[in-house]
Symmetry: C2
Subunit: 494 residues, 2 copies
């Protein structure tokens, strides 16, 4: 109790006493003064010691539990959480492994020359239209001079917003420049939306598994993440409805086409059902459209936004997978009534997105080069896609590895037989110069997973067969060896 006697509660402070106490204990945990499984003092005892009411202690302990610092055992008291789920410190601890994986997803890992990366979903730099874009940059600078380098309006360069409106109409989305918000990439889009609508303690529903960057952002807002399993034809709608009722989420984050990481697409029926639920329960849906252009075999990849008669969807559009991620450019289409909140959040994030890039991209759209580029990328990716489909059948199916063929996109989601962890497989592959992305990082529960993701964005056609053959050889050995890892958590549904 000596430790706790030093806690200083200022009764004259404007800050609630329980918040003061919460912070003191939080600091003691973060600084290692209190260690894993240390027991906190009983409520009455600490209340006496500090000369405060029991309720103050109860509230502080509740908040500590809420924030993941402690756990409670009924009948025996409150204890410091061992692998502390407390947000930032934890982020730091797990950094080396997880960040590695996340960075791989963005092609940010220096890979050895002889490596084949099925991990990165980012196109190789040779696919970027560098010369075209260089000429447009020059054209913009000669035309606009210094104005191209001033602060752009926070909502975005108006002519670009107009061009995007016309681009969207080709995809069945009819909107106005007033409803378009330019962002510095989809990740910022998710961040800005969270700032505007997600407060501490709010719930957010996500597909499980889902994009890791979205989870990080929602967590950073202090949100409670509610998982809804995703199936080949979309989220489990009954489960979703139940969780909407129970948790009253601030928003639902979904990728209805070629979901990341699974590659699954929602059926037309489930898309409609999702809209219906949003309308019935007045929940905001954030549709992350990072790839819907890349549909193959004539699959109709309608976006939710194009079906959104009631104007309830926030549509997030990224160009990073199909254009140039380094531009840091994307946009939102926002329901009319939500403008001001989004604009204020964007302003507090980085004021505005680089005007030069916006202006050059505007010309890119206006001159029709964008359409040609999409066509070009689609052909390139389709070739790789077909090769991969063929390789899966040839190399993976015989090993008992299961998968569902996506209808487009860049990602394939594979599942090891029971008893194996893809974390272990990752290490085995990495040693053999093949990079894959283990499924565990896409689940909020941070366990192990039988799933892994293969992407065709950063591999050349000739590498795919070679790489998949090698992968199958590695896996054959891997699967023969007894499953040695301790798999604590399975995801039985998926």
């Amino acid at each position: 109790m000596d430790l706790f006697a030093k806690i200083c509660i200022d009764k004259n402070s404007l800050e609630h006493m329980y918040i003061q106490l919460f912070k003191s204990i939080k600091n003691m945990i973060e600084q290692g003064v209190l260690k894993a499984n240390d027991k906190l003092p009983p409520i009455r005892q600490l209340a006496d010691l500090l000369g405060v009411n029991n309720v103050t202690i109860v509230k502080a302990y509740d908040l500590l539990e809420e924030e993941g610092y402690v756990y409670k055992k009924i009948g025996s008291g409150t204890f410091v959480k061992p692998s502390g789920n407390y947000r930032y410190l934890n982020e730091q601890h797990k950094y080396p492994v997880d960040e590695d994986f996340r960075q791989m997803d963005r092609g940010q890992i220096q890979i050895r020359n002889n490596m084949i990366s099925f991990a990165s979903a980012t196109p190789t730099p040779d696919l970027f239209p560098v010369e075209d874009f260089k000429n447009l940059l020059i054209e913009v600078l000669d035309r606009d001079k210094g104005s191209a380098f001033g602060y752009q309006e926070s909502q975005g360069y108006y002519p670009l917003r107009e061009s995007l409106v016309s681009y969207l109409s080709a995809y069945g989305i009819f909107t106005h420049a007033e409803n378009v918000q330019i962002i510095s990439g989809a990740q910022q889009g998710i961040d800005v939306i969270s700032k505007a609508f997600v407060q501490f303690g709010d719930s957010v529903i996500v597909e499980s598994p889902t994009y890791t960057g979205a989870i990080a952002t929602f967590k950073s807002r202090g949100a409670k993440i509610i998982d809804v399993p995703i199936f080949e034809d979309g989220m489990d709608m009954a489960d979703l409805e139940g969780k909407i009722l129970t948790h009253r989420p601030k928003l639902i984050y979904a990728m209805p086409n070629f979901q990341n990481p699974t590659g699954y697409s929602y059926s037309q029926q489930k898309k409609q059902k999702l809209l219906e639920l949003a309308s019935r329960y007045n929940v905001l849906i954030v549709e992350d459209d990072y790839l819907s252009e890349l549909s193959f075999h004539g699959y109709e990849s309608a976006t939710l936004k194009s079906l959104d008669i009631q104007d309830m969807i926030i549509y997030v559009k990224s160009f990073s997978k199909i254009f140039m991620p380094g531009l840091r450019l994307g946009f939102l289409v926002i329901p009319q009534k939500l403008h001001h909140q989004i604009l204020a959040a964007k302003h507090a994030s980085d004021i505005s997105t680089s005007g030069l890039n916006q202006r050059a991209f505007d010309l890119y759209l206006r001159k029709g080069i964008w359409k040609q580029h999409i066509h070009y990328m689609k052909n390139i990716y389709e070739e790789r896609f077909e090769i991969m489909v063929h390789c899966l059948e040839k190399y993976m199916a015989p090993l008992g590895v299961s998968y569902t063929l996506p209808k487009g996109g860049l990602n394939f989601w594979l599942c090891l037989p029971e008893g194996y962890s893809s974390n272990d497989l990752y290490h085995e592959c990495e040693r053999n110069n093949i990079l894959i992305l283990p499924g565990s990082i896409f689940f909020t529960s941070q366990g192990e997973s039988r799933y892994f993701r293969l992407s065709i964005a950063a591999v050349y056609p000739h590498e795919i067969d070679f790489g998949m053959k090698k992968l199958s050889e590695i896996m054959e050995k891997f699967l023969k060896a007894k499953a040695t890892s301790n798999i604590n958590a399975y995801f039985p549904i998926l």
Copy 2:
């Protein structure tokens, strides 16, 4: 009570009941179901009605108060706050006025052709080195091709971080590329730092008045903002120490040189004292250096970071005022031990800053063009500065308007005689085609203020005398008219 009978509390939910209740009532307030000054039900009554414990109601009401939705009157109960200080909704309500002002600060307002803007602190586009930069962009694209458009590392392009290290040494800051984090402008720097270190309920100390963008970001994190008045030689150190002890802030946000909006600079003594307090109480200091290059008359504008022997300062460097805001480029120098938290927060914000701009700016530094540019800008601004100093003496002093001459920078902070509000003056000026920035927006308390800010960034030398003469004529009339506005809040110290 009928309204409240409809509240549905799910006892089986993983979400605490008080959080569920908090959200229900919050929604009723936001949706206008509960109106200003409506009384919430007495605790016991609501507890009976919902079949929950009294403590649940107490905790929900406390959280509502904490979040600015309700106020309590001792002995009479809990009531809905009238001018709701609740965060987002409020942001929306006050949007038209405040956002206008904030945007003016960034030169984002379309001003009429015949207007003179002393409101914007952003340089006019003719001062941007467009041709030089265009050539560097071309050079980079010819050199790096597609790599310039790939995802840049989240921490920033390594060669640029090296260049910045060498640039910083000229300002007495000795660091390593590992301690430099590239950001998309200073606003994002503040946002990233907040994400990494400020949680819901934490306190943050700011100078009062201060930069509005910082306040918006801290508020968006759910932080409690603690004001410490700033004087001509820096914050009141006794007050600061007291508030550190009382509020145990997560960080202190300060602009030690040519503070925005006051133009005040900390004395050497107070800079040292600030460092000492940070060290004694283990508080993080965020130094926002947006202008220290612009010191005139040989004033020694040492940054805190250059005095930071104990590596406790996060240094935020913006180039928007002296270079090109549209690049959205700045950087942080971070204490060694805080890397991972900052990097994770940057990653969750926008993954990385545009690589093309980073690469071109790197060349700009390496080729020495940057040094020439600073020199050029300093000369231009110094000319305007001197004209303004002269005009203040000539036009403002005789009117009883008080001010302190800054030692550099772009901003002048003026104070009207007692009884007058600069909000009113703003409107008078705007009608007469002169833009000023009323002081009220720089105070967290949102009241009226006698202060206003004049900036020389966006006015040409010949406009300054003309504009100030006109301003003095407007003010003469304004001061003669009886003070008609209802000034509720003064800031007596400042």
